[in-house]
């Protein structure tokens, strides 16, 4: 019988927090022990939730690429370049250069595009918060 890696890290995290940390006398070392517990907890969640989050990200960015088509049909320069990259990569990370380029674009184009982009970013940060909290 083997333990799932995410579950294993979760158990070690709990042991550090509940059993080992309280026995550490030195303040600095105690803080480090607590932080080790916290980090292992986050990595554990990342391992467990990673596949579902990746699938959701792909679904979101695919839909966004479709939605941005008409909004940015007249885009040129850096916005057009960033949009091409987004189409190819279909990742939330690829939205960074696009958002940057939009802030140098005409305000109507920026507003219309951000209205489409921000809900995707909201869902992405919500997923990340499932791990970070």
């Amino acid at each position: 019988m083997s333990v799932d890696p995410g579950e294993l890290l979760q158990r070690i995290s709990a042991t550090l927090k509940a059993d080992i940390g309280p026995e550490v006398g030195n303040e600095f070392a105690k803080t480090q022990t607590f932080m080790a517990s916290v980090v292992l907890d986050k990595v554990s969640k990342q391992l467990t939730l990673g596949p579902a989050h990746a699938a959701a990200e792909l679904a979101d960015t695919s839909s966004l690429v479709e939605a941005l088509g008409p909004v940015l049909k007249d885009a040129s320069g850096p916005v057009a370049t960033a949009l091409t990259t987004l189409r190819a990569e279909q990742t939330v990370a690829a939205l960074g250069p696009l958002v940057e380029a939009l802030y140098a674009a005409p305000s109507e184009q920026r507003q219309a595009a951000l209205e489409q982009i921000r809900p995707v970013l909201r869902r992405d940060i919500d997923r990340r918060m499932e791990i970070a909290q």
């Binding site: 600095f28 803080t31 932080m35 960074g96 921000r118 909201r122």
Partner: protein, 340 residues
């Protein structure tokens, strides 16, 4: 490490204190405060011209791999503390700045009496809630910020920090500072950060009045003795700038947990009344909301830089490893403040 440092301190202080015999270093204790430098508390005992003497001291040492070391070095902190001696701002007395005698740039200052409960721990929040009920600390805390904002910064020489031009220069300068930290961190970032920075640059407010700004004035960064602030600590982010930058930090929900008390200790009405009457500065809540978004950017920059220091192996402090997920929290906050 502790024994080596004790030996270096004994040798150094033997010269600085004009001791007639060896200096004893006792009760050496490294504490987990601050991010940018190691902090050690200790007692020095020696025989001098006036007989047996004892001094409680605090050492801050730059280990060469710490957070924010490019934005606030110990030389600047030393100069700031020296300048503050001529003001009403409660701050530790700085004694010596040592470039290399202690294994890295180091600042030795007075160990001011008082305690500094962490507002991130339940025991700390209980401490501040009880102090708020007694009523003295909320006034003292507010008065300390007022003292910072009414200090004659030019008169005491704090203009060495740099004086922003009129208009939006202060806000844009802060954005540029934290952008540089983000770029230097080599962290992949997140598109919300690009949105946040774009919005901040497009909406930078005008600064009408320049004061000394602490940059991180909250509980956890002040020492408290008998319900009064005995020293404002963490002089790492100070600038000459818009006082609303500090006021925004007082008002933000980020610096309180489970309470309406500002910074866990000051009732909002008391703060507004006492701060405005003490300083003559009117609180601009719209500008404070802008600066709260700038703090979200600054927090993200801190945490990206911190996570990078751990990721590249240059710093082994596990608090830095944890900050990878603090970036997410800062950006979630920014997304909410931006309205999505």
């Amino acid at each position: 490490m502790t024994e080596q440092l004790e030996g270096q301190l004994a040798e150094l202080l033997g010269e600085r204190l004009e001791a007639t015999g060896p200096v004893a270093i006792e009760n050496m204790d490294r504490i987990s405060v601050g991010w940018s430098h190691e902090t050690w508390l200790f007692d020095a005992k020696w025989n001098g011209a006036d007989g047996e003497q004892e001094l409680g001291l605090c050492l801050r040492r730059d280990p060469g791999n710490a957070l924010l070391r490019e934005t606030s070095d110990l030389d600047e902190q030393f100069q700031v503390l020296k300048c503050l001696e001529a003001t009403d701002v409660p701050a530790p007395k700085a004694y010596w700045l040592e470039p290399d005698a202690l294994g890295g740039p180091s600042l030795i200052m007075d160990r001011v009496p008082g305690e500094c409960p962490s507002p991130w721990r339940r025991s700390g929040r209980e401490f501040y809630a009880a102090a708020a009920d007694r009523g003295v600390l909320p006034e003292s805390f507010t008065d300390s910020l007022a003292a910072i904002h009414t200090a004659d910064w030019r008169g005491v020489g704090l203009d060495f920090l740099g004086v922003p031009e009129e208009g939006t220069a202060f806000s844009l300068g802060e954005i540029a500072k934290w952008k540089k930290l983000i770029l230097d961190s080599a962290h992949p970032g997140h598109p919300i950060l690009a949105d946040l920075i774009g919005w901040l640059e497009a909406n930078a407010p005008v600064t009408n009045q320049l004061t000394l700004v602490h940059g991180a004035f909250r509980t956890g960064n002040v020492l408290i003795e008998d319900d009064r602030v005995s020293a404002v600590l963490d002089w790492e982010l100070q600038v000459i700038g818009d006082p609303m930058y500090d006021v925004a930090y007082m008002l933000t929900e980020l610096n309180r947990e489970g309470t309406d008390l500002l910074s866990n200790v000051v009732p909002r009405d008391l703060f507004f009344d006492r701060y405005q009457s003490s300083t003559g500065i009117e609180i601009d809540e719209d500008k404070c909301r802008y600066f709260q978004l700038l703090y979200a950017m600054r927090s993200a920059a801190f945490w990206m830089s911190a996570a990078g220091l751990y990721a590249d192996g240059s710093n082994t402090d596990l608090r830095l490893a944890r900050t990878e997920w603090s970036v997410t929290v800062a950006l979630e906050r920014a997304a909410t403040e931006l309205g999505y």
